[in-house]
C-alpha cells in the first residue's frame, strides 16, 4: 500500500509539472474539435480502441475492466506528437504538441473497484490568421488578424465496477464534461504609417463546458483464453456557458451515443490478438453548429497482436503491433475525414508478482495519416503510460 501511495504521488507530481497544453492536429479547427481517446500506451500500440483488453484496468471506455483486477491502481498517460500537414492551397508545414489524455486512479471497496479518472475528449486548440487591406488616411495598409482558439473538452469520471462471479464484471462511469475554450482575436496593424504605432485590437470570449455522460459496460472472460467486452456511453447535451464579460452566447451541442465492442484472444502462450470497434453517430450535432461543417459518423476499428514472452534483462518486455482505421466526426473539407494508423510498442515491467504487473510503463509509437478533401496530415505520435498497482 505504501508503495502504491508513493507511486501515485509521483504520478501526480509528473502531471502537474509538465506543460499540459498544445495541439496535435489542424483538424482541431473543424467543428467541435478532434476526438482524443483516453487510452493508454498498451492499447495504442495494439491499435485497440480502449476496450476488451486483458490487463488494462482503468480505461473510461471499458468500465467493467476495472472489476477484473481488484487492486489499487493508478495510471497516467502522456502523448507527444509531431505532425506534417499539406493543404490543398499549397501550404504545408509541421506542428507538434503534447497531451495528457488520461489520469486515473482506482481503489477497491465494497467488493468492487471505485475509479476516478480525468480524460480528454475533444481537442480544440488552433491558430489562424488572415490578412486584410485597410484604407487609412487615403493609403492602403495591410493588417493581420490573428486568431487563436485555446481549449479542450475533458471528462471527469467517477466509476464503480465489480466482478460477477469469477469470469465477468460489470461497471459504469458517471462523467462530467469539463474544460473551457478561449477564443481570442487580435488585429495587428503592422507598419501602418502614423506618428505612433497603432495599438493592436484585441477581443476574446471564453466558454466553460459542462454536461453529463454515463457509460455502462460488461466484460466476460471466456475460459481464460478470451475476453469480450462491450460498453455504451450516453451523453446529455454538451453545454458551453459564456463567461459574464463575453459578447458570445451560451450554446448547447448534442453528443452522440457511443458503442464499443472489443475482444482479446490468447492464441497460444505468449501470443494474443485483439480487435475492437467504436461507433458514434455525430449527425445530431450538425444542427447545433453555426459554421457549416462536414459531420460524419465515426466508425473505427482496430486490430493488434501482442507477443508477451519477450524479455529483456530478465524482465518481461511484451512487444505489440497494431493497426486502426476510422473516420473523424468533423472535417475541414466537403468529405468526411479519415484516419489510418500503424502502431508498435512495448511494455516494461518494473515490479511484478505472480504475473501481475505492479509497476510498469507502456510505450507506443504510431505512424498515421488523416485526410479529407482539403487537408492531409501525416504524423508520428508517441504514447507513454505509467501504471502502478499495489495491495
Amino acid at each position: 500500500m505504501k508503495q502504491f501511495v508513493q507511486s501515485l504521488v509521483l504520478a501526480l507530481v509528473i502531471s502537474l509539472v509538465t506543460t499540459p497544453s498544445g495541439a496535435q492536429s489542424l483538424f482541431n479547427a473543424a467543428g467541435m474539435g478532434l476526438p482524443i481517446e483516453a487510452i493508454d500506451g498498451r492499447a495504442r500500440a495494439l491499435g485497440n480502441l480502449g476496450i476488451g483488453l486483458w490487463g488494462s484496468g482503468l480505461l473510461p471506455g471499458d468500465p467493467a475492466a476495472a472489476g477484473m483486477f481488484i487492486a489499487p491502481t493508478a495510471v497516467i498517460v502522456g502523448q507527444p506528437s509531431w505532425v506534417d500537414y499539406d493543404h490543398e492551397s499549397g501550404n504545408s508545414g509541421s506542428i507538434r504538441g503534447n497531451r495528457f489524455p488520461l489520469l486515473g486512479v482506482g481503489y477497491p471497496a465494497f467488493s468492487g473497484m471505485f475509479t476516478v479518472s480525468l480524460s480528454s475528449f475533444l481537442d480544440q486548440h488552433y491558430k489562424s490568421q488572415r490578412s486584410s487591406q485597410l484604407y487609412l488616411r487615403g493609403e492602403e495598409s495591410e493588417v493581420t488578424d490573428l486568431f487563436e482558439q485555446d481549449g479542450s473538452i475533458g471528462s471527469l469520471n467517477l466509476g464503480y465496477s465489480r466482478p460477477l462471479g469469477t469470469s465477468a464484471a460489470l461497471g459504469f462511469n458517471f462523467g462530467r464534461y469539463t474544460g473551457s475554450v478561449l477564443r481570442r482575436l487580435e488585429r495587428d496593424f503592422g507598419t501602418v504609417s502614423l506618428p505612433e504605432t497603432l495599438e493592436s485590437y484585441q477581443t476574446s470570449s471564453r466558454w466553460t463546458y459542462s454536461g453529463t455522460s454515463l457509460t455502462g459496460g460488461m466484460a466476460v472472460n471466456l475460459g481464460g483464453v478470451a475476453r469480450v467486452a462491450a460498453s455504451v456511453t450516453w451523453s446529455g447535451d454538451l453545454n458551453a456557458t459564456a463567461s459574464d464579460e463575453n459578447q458570445g452566447m451560451d450554446r448547447s451541442f448534442s453528443m452522440p451515443m457511443q458503442y464499443r465492442l472489443g475482444t482479446s484472444i490468447v492464441l497460444a502462450p505468449g501470443l494474443m490478438i485483439t480487435a475492437s470497434a467504436v461507433q458514434a453517430d455525430w449527425a445530431d450535432i450538425e444542427g447545433d453548429l453555426d459554421t457549416p461543417t462536414t459531420v460524419g459518423s465515426t466508425s473505427n476499428i482496430g486490430v493488434g497482436v501482442e507477443l508477451s514472452r519477450a524479455s529483456l534483462f530478465g524482465l518481461a518486455v511484451p512487444i505489440r503491433f497494431g493497426y486502426r482505421t476510422g473516420k473523424l466526426p468533423f472535417s475541414l473539407g466537403s468529405s468526411v475525414a479519415t484516419e489510418r494508423i500503424l502502431s508498435a510498442g512495448l511494455g516494461l515491467s518494473f515490479s511484478e508478482v505472480e504475473d501481475i504487473v505492479l509497476g510498469g510503463a507502456d510505450l507506443a509509437i504510431e505512424r498515421g495519416r488523416r485526410s479529407d478533401s482539403v487537408l492531409r496530415e501525416e504524423f508520428w505520435r508517441a504514447t507513454i503510460s505509467l501504471r502502478v498497482s499495489g495491495y
Partner: protein, 421 residues
C-alpha cells in the same frame, strides 16, 4: 522524447473561414467642441539665461530687437610658462596687456542675408542674469532697477566688427588693456559685455562667447601668451515681448508658452453610420481595447515673423494635475516620449497649415479604463515644448472656432461578437 516535444508548435489553420467575422476599423475625427474646451495660453516658464546662449537682433521682421549680455569668469592667476632658460614652470605674475571677445554663432539658427555689423559695449549698470529684461536690469524681490536706457544701456562702446557667415562662425572685438582691467573685478556687479546687432532685419543666435587675453608672463616677458576665459553668465534681452494669442495655440519660446485645454473623451460613439451598422446600433460604448490610436491634431499657423522657429520644435503633452493651480500647476509624465513630436520649422512658415498629430493613445485608453462610469471623463492637458525654454522662437497653431481648429483623431476597431462554431 517527451522533453523534445515540450516546446509547442501550435497549428495554424489555412482556412480563413475558420476565423471570426472580420472586425471593422474606422477613423473618427471629433471636432473641437466634441472633445475639448477651456483653451488657455500661459507664458512665463523659464528665462533667457537658462538657454545658455544669446540672441542679437535689430529690427528683425521690423519689430524685434535683442541684445546679448555676458559676464566672464575670473581671469587666470597662474599659468605654466616656459621661461628664458627653456624650463616650464608656473608663473603667477601675469600681466594682461589686451585681448578680444570672440562670439560664436549658430549659423543654422541665425537669419541673415549676408555680412552683418556687430557692436560690443561694456555695461555700466548692475544687472542680474536671472531677471534682466529689456527694461529692467534687476527685477528681484524688493529690488527693481531699470536700465537707464532700455535695452541694457547705456554702455561704454568698445568697438564694432563685421561678421560674414560665409567666412566662418565667429566674430571678434579687440580689447585694450584698460577694458581688460575693468572686467577683472568679479565683485563688480555692473561689469559685463553687451553685444548688439547694428544691421537691421537680422537675427543671430550666439552660441558661445569667449574672452581671449593677451598675457605677458613675468618669467618670459618677451613672449605673449593667449589665455581663454569662458563666460560666467550669459543672457539676452529682447523687445517687444510677444502678446498672448487671442485665440491661438502657442508652444515654446523664452520665457516659454504653454497651452492648456480640457479634454473630454467620449465613452460612447454615435457614429459614423458604418460603425453603427457594424455593432447593430448606436450609441456604442467605446472600450479601451477598441481604441487603436488617438491623436490631437493641430493645424500649424504662421506666427509672428520675428519669432519664427528656425529649427525643429519638439512638442510635448502632459496632463495638468491641478488646473486650479495654473500657471504653476504640477504636470504629469510626458505622453509623447523623450523627444516629443518633432515638427520642422517650415510648418510655421512656407508650409503653414500642416496637420501636426500628437499621439495620446495611452492617455485616452487609461481614461476610458478608469472613467468609473462617468460619461465623457474630463482631464486637463498642457501642450508645451519638450525642453523649456529651448529658443526665442515659438510654435503657433490655429485655435478653435473655425475649420482649422484642433481635432481629435481616433482609430477604433470594433469586432462582432465571437461565437463558438
Amino acid at each position: 522524447m517527451g522533453m523534445a516535444a515540450c516546446q509547442e508548435e501550435s497549428p495554424t489553420t489555412l482556412d480563413a473561414d475558420l476565423l471570426p467575422k472580420e472586425p471593422i476599423t474606422i477613423e473618427i475625427e471629433l471636432p473641437w467642441e466634441d472633445f475639448a474646451s477651456d483653451l488657455e495660453v500661459f507664458g512665463g516658464y523659464g528665462a533667457p539665461w537658462e538657454l545658455g546662449t544669446g540672441v542679437v537682433a535689430n529690427a528683425f521682421a521690423g519689430i524685434l530687437d535683442a541684445r546679448t549680455l555676458v559676464r566672464f569668469a575670473a581671469y587666470p592667476s597662474v599659468h605654466q610658462v616656459r621661461d628664458t632658460t627653456g624650463t616650464t614652470r608656473p608663473d603667477s605674475s601675469l600681466t594682461f596687456v589686451g585681448g578680444r571677445v570672440v562670439a560664436f554663432f549658430d549659423t543654422i539658427a541665425s537669419i541673415t542675408n549676408g555680412p552683418v555689423t556687430l557692436g560690443l559695449g561694456a555695461t555700466q549698470t548692475r544687472w542680474d542674469k536671472r531677471t534682466v529684461t529689456w527694461m529692467a536690469a534687476v527685477d528681484t524681490l524688493n529690488d527693481l532697477t531699470l536700465w537707464p536706457q532700455p535695452g541694457a544701456g547705456p554702455v561704454n562702446s568698445i568697438g564694432t566688427t563685421v561678421w560674414d557667415p560665409v567666412e566662418g562662425d565667429s566674430a571678434w572685438f579687440e580689447l585694450d588693456s584698460v577694458q581688460v582691467e575693468a572686467w577683472a573685478d568679479t565683485a563688480d556687479a555692473s561689469r559685463g559685455a553687451r553685444i548688439e546687432l547694428l544691421t537691421e532685419n537680422t537675427r543671430l543666435q550666439v552660441s558661445r562667447v569667449v574672452l581671449r587675453l593677451d598675457t605677458r608672463p613675468s618669467s618670459n616677458p618677451d613672449t605673449l601668451v593667449v589665455l581663454s576665459v569662458q563666460r560666467d553668465e550669459i543672457s539676452f534681452v529682447y523687445d517687444p515681448f510677444p502678446e498672448p494669442p487671442a485665440n491661438g495655440i502657442r508652444i515654446g519660446g523664452v520665457p516659454a508658452w504653454r497651452t492648456v485645454l480640457n479634454v473630454k473623451i467620449p465613452t460612447h460613439l454615435d457614429g459614423p453610420a458604418e460603425l453603427c451598422v457594424a455593432v447593430g446600433g448606436c450609441p456604442m460604448e467605446l472600450e479601451p481595447l477598441q481604441l487603436n490610436y488617438a491623436a490631437i491634431t493641430l493645424k500649424s499657423a504662421r506666427g509672428e515673423q520675428a519669432f519664427q522657429p528656425t529649427d525643429s520644435v519638439g512638442l510635448d503633452v502632459r496632463q495638468v494635475l491641478r488646473r486650479d493651480a495654473l500657471p504653476k500647476a504640477p504636470l504629469g509624465e510626458s505622453l509623447t516620449g523623450l523627444l516629443g513630436q518633432r515638427v520642422g520649422p517650415d510648418a510655421f512658415g512656407v508650409h503653414a497649415g500642416t496637420d501636426i498629430e500628437i499621439p495620446i493613445t495611452a492617455f485616452v485608453r487609461n481614461l476610458l479604463r478608469d472613467h468609473d462610469g462617468v460619461t465623457n471623463p474630463t482631464k486637463t492637458l498642457a501642450l508645451l515644448s519638450v525642453f523649456e525654454p529651448i529658443s526665442i522662437a515659438y510654435a503657433s497653431f490655429h485655435g478653435p472656432g473655425d475649420e482649422n481648429g484642433p481635432v481629435l483623431r481616433l482609430i477604433v476597431t470594433v469586432g462582432r461578437a465571437m461565437e463558438l462554431p
